[in-house]
Amino acid sequence: MKRFRTLAWILLAAILALSLAAGFLPGFSYTEQHREFISAGPSRHFPLGTDDLGRDRLVRLLCATRISLLLAAAAALGALLLAVIVGGAAGYMGGWFDSVMVRTVDLMLSLPWLFLLIAARALLPLDAAPETSLLVTYFLLALLGWAAPARVVRAGVRSFRQSDFVMQARALGCPEIRVLVRHILPNLRPVLLAQFWTSIPIFILAEANLGFLGLSASEPFPTWGNLLRELQSPVMVRPESFAPVAAVVLAVLCFKFIAPWGGSQV
């Protein structure tokens, strides 16, 4: 398992480095249209061919990799931050706030996530600017993905609340917020890291699903989700069209091996 984990780290770092480095290459543009090479097959100039607008598929895939990986990680971080604030406060304060939080988390976890995402994403105008739609998609992922980590954080905080070191800190007159931030949360670091690594592939898959349904970032921004849309028209499907699928599978697989407990929550 450790071997697989190391391999996953190397592979993921290589994919990310490649997608980041490609941005510095001359002529790297995901919007540039080669009108004379529309829907061209793989060639020396276009290793993955071009799409129906003559855009280089490889360039778009690399750019999508960069956007999807970095923004999924940012969304996971946002969701975790929200989970720490809400779950930490609920677990530490207890009482009515805890009860309300538990009910809210139950409600959010009982509803199908994709339904919530679709409903929330559709609240925005469909003609929103591409940058806005891209940021909003990942912002929504962070906003809706806090419930499961919040439950874990709450349970962790509750288990530490009555521990000896917390009692001692309180007895010494340490302010409550300091007890939570300086004494309890650092002890939850392994749990928080596990939640972070398991949230990223969940967000990648959620974005891919939204992209398929046309509710992810709008064109011309490439994300793994909207690159996968090409598979919807069987006439256009070629072997190279499956490259985004391979990229998603590879990335999620890497995260599954990297995440503690084998990413069983994915």
Binding site: R103, P112, L114, F115, I118, A119, P125, N209, F212
Partner: protein, 284 residues
């Protein structure tokens, strides 16, 4: 004793009711506050005269106060009137009744197939002493888990595969890990190890010793799997053009159809909460 049970059931039902009401209100509030809610594509129709336009605007104005809209909607729902879909221009009750069988069939096939597949692969993975069975099952499950459900739907649909197995294939990897862990935990218990050592038939061990031990956890997971199945139905129905509730949810979301979204959210909340409560009750 029956008195305690009655109180417990009443409290559970009250919690489900409150959750459903809050869920519906939140959905209504979110959709109402979304940008562009007041715009209506019917107003772009140049054939409409002033009176028709005024009627459409009045229709929107009636929905502007979210609390009164929700209260009015709830009162109507209690009388069996789910309202009219502004985008599809049909009664919501009729839309749900028409589409429910498609989704129910898809979900039933998905839940049964997903559980059967997860169990069929988890059991040999746990029972067989050779690691190969476990590794093959684990690899298949992991690969399926890494594929977005929408991609599975499109690939099977495009290759002419049976649409009913898509939800099962999406659900199975999410159940497999839990099934394998629960079975491994049960098979490691001392009395089951003893039964195996004594040569008790494997089927008897499974049915008489393993399943009763793991039943509460399996039942809890069964409740969650219904919600998972509905989540999987949305892309499957949308991409495979199946006229079910998942497709209706997607269409309503795209068209910002507030009454349909509120009804669907409440309906899904009721179903998932009842499934979870039923599985919790059965496990208890």
């Amino acid at each position: 004793m029956p008195h305690i049970w009655a109180i417990k059931i009443a409290r559970k039902l009250a919690a489900v009711g409150a959750t459903v009401l809050v869920g519906g209100l939140l959905t209504a509030a979110l959709v109402r506050m979304s940008p562009g809610f007041d715009s209506d594509e019917r107003l772009l129709d140049s054939r409409l005269d002033g009176a028709s336009r005024a009627a459409i605007r009045a229709e929107h104005a009636a929905n502007s106060n979210i609390v009164s809209f929700y209260a009015h909607r709830l009162a109507a729902m209690l009388h069996g009137d789910l309202g009219q879909s502004p985008s599809l221009r049909r009664p919501i009750g009729e839309l749900i009744v028409d589409r429910l069988p498609v989704t129910a069939e898809l979900m039933a096939a998905g839940v049964v197939g997903g559980w059967a597949l997860a169990f069929a692969l988890a059991l040999p993975a746990v029972i067989c002493r050779r690691k190969l069975a476990s590794q093959v099952a684990g690899t298949f499950s992991t690969c399926m888990l890494c594929l977005p459900p929408a991609a599975v739907a499109v690939l099977i649909f495009a290759w002419g595969g049976p649409v009913r197995i898509i939800v099962a294939l999406v659900l199975f990897p999410r159940l497999f890990d839990y099934c394998r862990n629960l079975l491994a935990d049960a098979y490691a218990r001392p009395h089951i190890v003893m039964a195996r050592a004594k040569g008790v038939r494997p089927s008897r061990i499974l049915l008489r010793h393993v399943l009763p031990v793991s039943a509460p956890q399996f039942l809890a997971l069964a409740g969650v799997s219904v919600s998972m199945a509905f989540g999987a139905c949305i892309p499957v129905e949308t991409l495979c053009d199946l006229p079910g509730l998942g497709q209706l949810a997607w269409k309503a979301a795209i068209a910002r159809d507030l009454p349909v979204l509120v009804c669907l959210t409440m309906m899904i909340t009721v179903v998932t909460q009842l499934c979870n409560s039923a599985s919790d009750g059965a496990a208890a």
